[in-house]
Symmetry: C2
Subunit: 176 residues, 2 copies
DNA sequence: ACGCGAGTGCTCAAATTTGACTACAAATTT
DNA sequence: AAATTTGTAGTCAAATTTGAGCACTCGCGT
C-alpha cells in the first residue's frame, strides 16, 4: 500500500538503517499481518525518498549495503502523513468484501459451505491471534504493538458476527 | 487492489460492456466505498485480460468505445478467484493501523485529541452509512449489496469500540 | 576442509495503479 | 443562440508494487 512510505520513515526515526534491517524491523512489529510491504517496495521507497531529500545516504553505495538516515524534511513528511492517517476514515479494502458482492453468483449450497468454512476459519484465526498477544514483548517490539493485534481481532470478530448473522438468512432463502 | 480483475469479470458476467459502463456499474454498487478501483485500472484490466483471452473485444476499437465480453476462460477465472477470496483470510490493510503503530511518536495531548476526533468522526460515518441502508435498492443494485454496507459498519464499529476502550488507557498513561 | 542449508542483503523486469488530462456530446444557463 | 456546465469515454506517463532470483557469508556436521 501507500503505507510503505510512512512505515519506512517511521522505522528510520530511531536511527539510520539499511534496507534489510528496515524489513526486519517491520517483521518484528508484525507488519506483515496488518500491512503488506513487499521486499522490493522497501528498496524502491528508500531510493525514491533519498532522491526527494526525505532521506540521505549515510554509508556505502557501490555494491555493499546502503544505509539511509532520515532528514528534517523526512521527519516533517512523516508527521504530516501520520496526521493524515489519523484523520482519514478511508474505506477498508478487503478482498472478502469483493467476494461477498458476488454471493448471488454461487449456488446456494456452495455459498453456505463457503460461509460456514470461513466462519470456522475465522474462529481459529481469532483465537490464534489472541493467544499471541503479548508474545512479541520479548525483543524490541513496543508494547503498544499489541493494540494493533487487538484492533484486528476486533475487526475479524465483526466479520464473524456478520457471517453468523447472515448464514441463517441464506438458509432461509432471504438472501441473496 | 488486485480485486480489480474479479470486479471487472463479475460485472461482465451479465453481458458485454465498455470501460465506462463498467465503472458506472461499480459505482452503482457503491464499490468506491469498499474497494478502490481507479479509472485507469479498469481500462488496463480490460485490455490485459483481453490479451490473455479472459475477455474478447466484441465491438469497436480504433478510437470509439471498445466493448468487451467475458469468455469461458474468463468465467472460469472468475469462479476460481471468487472461491479463493471466500477462503482466504487476508489481513485487512488499513492506513489507520499504520498510524496506530506510531502512536508513541505523538505527544500525549495530541494523540488524545486525534483519538477523540476520530471517534467522533467514526460515529458520524457509521450513522450515515446506516441511514443509507436500502437506499440503493432503487435501480439495478441487487439487495445483497446492503450486506456489504452492514459488514463495513460492523468493522467500523469495532474500530470505534477499540478507540473508546483505549482512550482511557492513554489518559491514564498506561499507553503508549 | 568441504558441502549445504539458513540467513543476509539486494536487484530487476514485469505487472499494476494512479489520477490528471483530453475530447466531444448533451443539457442548461444566460 | 452563444456560453457554460455536466456527462460520457478514454489515454497516458509516472509512480508503485511484486516476488522470483542472485550473490555472499556463516555455522555446522561429516
Amino acid at each position: 500500500m501507500t503505507s510503505t512510505r510512512i512505515l519506512i520513515l517511521g522505522v528510520l526515526l530511531d536511527g539510520p538503517l539499511h534496507g534489510y534491517k528496515v524489513r526486519r524491523r517491520l517483521e518484528l512489529w508484525g507488519a506483515d499481518s496488518w500491512a503488506s510491504v513487499a521486499y522490493g517496495s522497501i528498496y524502491h521507497g528508500l531510493a525514491k525518498m533519498a532522491d526527494e531529500g526525505l532521506l540521505e545516504v549515510v554509508e556505502g553505495g557501490r555494491g555493499g549495503k546502503t544505509v539511509y538516515a532520515i532528514t528534517d524534511d523526512g521527519r516533517a513528511e512523516f508527521y504530516h502523513r501520520l496526521f493524515r492517517a489519523w484523520m482519514d476514515i478511508s474505506p477498508i479494502v478487503d478482498p472478502f468484501q469483493v467476494a461477498m458482492t458476488f454471493m448471488d453468483r454461487m449456488p446456494q449450497a456452495e455459498l453456505l459451505r463457503a460461509m460456514q468454512a470461513r466462519s470456522e476459519q475465522l474462529r481459529l484465526t481469532i483465537s490464534m491471534m489472541e493467544r499471541s498477544l503479548g508474545g512479541k514483548q520479548g525483543f524490541g517490539a513496543p508494547r503498544h504493538i499489541d493494540e494493533n493485534l487487538k484492533l484486528i481481532t476486533g475487526q475479524l470478530r465483526a466479520q464473524l458476527d456478520w457471517l453468523d448473522e447472515t448464514i441463517p438468512k441464506v438458509k432461509a432463502g432471504d438472501l441473496p
